[in-house]
C-alpha cells in the first residue's frame, strides 16, 4: 500500500516555481533597495560627528582647499536624508545633501551666502547611477544641473564610505581632472559651527 502524498508532483513543481519566483523577486528587490539603504545607514552612523579631510593632489585651482582646514560634519539626519556641511576654513557655504529616492540616492549641493540666502549656483547634483554599492555611489549630473551649469552636464560626483574613510570626488567625462577629498573617519574632531543658513 503506497503512502498517500498530500499533493501531486505536478502541484509540487507549480509550487516550487511559485516559491522560486517569489524568492527571486524578493532577492531582486533586496538587491535594488539594500545598497542605497545601507549606504545611507553607514553615513547616518556618523551623525553628529565631524571629521577632517585633505584634498588629494591639489592643483593650482585648489589653493583654498589645499591651504585651509577641511571639515565635514554629518548632521540633519532625517529618516530619508542627511545633510553634510563641508567647511573650507571659515567658509561655511557648502552642504552636501543626500536623500533616499525610490530608485537610489540623490546628491545635491546646497550653496549659501553668509547671510543664509541661496547662492545663484545651488542645488546641483544628480541621482545615483545603477550599480551603486553599499560603499560607493556615482551621481551623474541631472538635467537641472545641465541647465544651471551647461559645462557641468557630464560631471560625475562620487561619494564613498568605508569604515575608515569618507571620499567626495568630482570628475567629468572627457577629462582626467580629478577633484578628490578624503576624510579620516577614525579621528573625530570638534563639531564646527552650523553652515551658513542653518541653526546651531
Amino acid at each position: 500500500m503506497p503512502h498517500p502524498v498530500p499533493f501531486s508532483l505536478r502541484d509540487l513543481s507549480k509550487r516550487s516555481l511559485a516559491l522560486a519566483a517569489l524568492a527571486f523577486s524578493a532577492a531582486a528587490a533586496c538587491v535594488g533597495r539594500a545598497p542605497a539603504d545601507k549606504f545611507l545607514a553607514s553615513l547616518a552612523a556618523h551623525c553628529g560627528k565631524a571629521y577632517e579631510g585633505r584634498i588629494v593632489n591639489p592643483q593650482p585651482a585648489d589653493t583654498a582647499f589645499a591651504k585651509e582646514r577641511l571639515v565635514m560634519h554629518v548632521r540633519g539626519c532625517d529618516a530619508d536624508s542627511l545633510r553634510i556641511p563641508f567647511h573650507v576654513g571659515d567658509d561655511r557655504s557648502r552642504t552636501w545633501v543626500l536623500t533616499r529616492t525610490a530608485a537610489g540616492v540623490r546628491l545635491k549641493h546646497d550653496h549659501r551666502h553668509e547671510d543664509g540666502s541661496e547662492d545663484r549656483v545651488t542645488q546641483y547634483g544628480g541621482d545615483s547611477r545603477e550599480g551603486g554599492t553599499t560603499t560607493l555611489m556615482d551621481f551623474p549630473a541631472d538635467s537641472f544641473t545641465a541647465d544651471l551649469l551647461p559645462t557641468a552636464r557630464t560631471n560625475i560626483w562620487t561619494v564613498e564610505i568605508t569604515p575608515t574613510e569618507f571620499v567626495y570626488q568630482l570628475r567629468r567625462e572627457g577629462s582626467d581632472r580629478l577633484f578628490r577629498v578624503v576624510f579620516d573617519l577614525t579621528q573625530p574632531v570638534a563639531q564646527p559651527a552650523a553652515p551658513w543658513g542653518a541653526e546651531d
Binding site: Q59, A61, K67, T151, N155
Partner: protein, 259 residues
C-alpha cells in the same frame, strides 16, 4: 568533483595554448608605436609630448623629432601629439601586430598676433572683463595663455594647461587612482593664490574642468600682480603676499557676451 572542475578549467586552457589564441600573445607581448613629429615645413620638433590617451602613457620626442611609445596593449590606440604654440594632432591607430606602421605627426604652428606696442603698466586694463586679459598680455608682465593655445593643447589634466609656460613645469604624481600631474614653479612660489574671472572663486567655478578654461594669467611674484588683483594674492589675515593665477572660464565669458 575536484577532478572534474580542474578538467573543465584545464582543457580549454590547453586547447588555447595549442591553438595560440591572440589573448595569449597579447598578454605575453606589448605593442610599440613609433614615429616622427615635424612642423609643417618638415623640421623635426624636439620635446613634443606624445601620449596614448586611452592608456595614459606618454613620452617626448628627441632632437630628431622621433618618439617611441612602448608597452601598449594591442587594439585601437588614440594617440595625441601636443606642443605649446602648435595645434595638437590626434590619430587613431589600430595595433594588431608588430607591423604597425610609423605614426607621424605634422603640427601646425599657431599664429600669434603680438602687438608691437608695449605699455609699461597693466593697471589700466579692465579687471573684471576678458578684454582686460588681452590688455595685460600686451603689457607683458606675467605669463599668459589664451583660448586658442589652451584648446590646442587639448588639456585632459589640469596641469596640461600650464605646459610650456615660462617658469612653470608639470610634474607626474602617482596616486591611488593612478597617474596624475601637478604644476610647480621652477623658481618656487612663496605661496600661491588663485582668482576666477577677476574675483574670488564661486560655487560655479568649483565645477570647472580644464576645457572650461579660456584664458590663464600667471604672476609668479606678488609685485607683478595687477593692482586690482592684489587683494586676491594677499587677502586680509594672510601673513604673506603670494603669487597668483587668474582663470577665465568659458561660462563667464559667454555670459558676459550675452549681457
Amino acid at each position: 568533483m575536484k577532478g572534474l572542475s580542474c578538467r573543465w578549467f584545464l582543457l580549454p586552457l590547453a586547447a588555447a595554448l595549442l591553438m595560440g589564441v591572440p589573448t595569449t600573445r597579447a598578454a605575453a607581448q606589448a605593442g610599440v608605436i613609433r614615429g616622427i613629429v615635424t612642423d609643417t615645413a618638415g623640421r623635426p620638433l624636439r620635446g613634443v609630448e606624445v601620449l596614448s590617451i586611452n592608456f595614459k602613457r606618454s613620452t617626448r620626442t628627441d632632437a630628431e623629432g622621433r618618439y617611441v611609445l612602448a608597452r601598449l596593449p594591442w587594439g585601437t590606440q588614440l594617440v595625441m601629439a601636443r606642443f605649446p604654440g602648435y595645434r595638437a594632432g590626434e590619430k587613431s591607430v589600430s595595433m594588431l601586430d608588430e607591423t604597425t606602421p610609423p605614426v607621424n605627426f605634422e603640427l601646425h604652428r599657431l599664429v600669434q598676433l603680438i602687438d608691437t606696442v608695449r605699455i609699461t603698466s597693466h593697471d589700466g586694463c579692465a579687471a573684471y572683463d576678458i578684454a582686460g586679459f588681452e590688455c595685460r598680455r600686451r603689457a607683458g608682465i606675467g605669463q599668459f595663455r589664451g583660448v586658442e593655445e589652451i584648446d590646442a593643447l587639448r588639456p585632459l589634466y589640469w596641469a596640461d594647461m600650464f605646459e610650456g609656460l615660462t617658469g612653470l613645469r608639470r610634474k607626474a604624481y602617482m596616486s591611488k587612482q593612478g597617474q596624475d600631474w601637478t604644476v610647480e614653479s621652477t623658481t618656487g612660489w612663496r605661496c600661491l593664490m588663485e582668482g576666477w574671472n577677476g574675483r574670488h572663486k564661486t560655487a560655479a567655478d568649483e565645477n570647472t574642468m580644464p576645457r572650461d578654461i579660456v584664458a590663464i594669467e600667471h604672476y609668479d611674484v606678488y609685485e607683478k600682480v595687477p593692482a586690482a588683483y592684489k587683494r586676491l594674492a594677499w587677502p586680509n589675515g594672510q601673513d604673506k603676499p603670494c603669487a597668483l593665477i587668474m582663470y577665465w572660464t568659458r561660462g563667464f565669458v559667454e555670459h558676459e557676451k550675452q549681457r
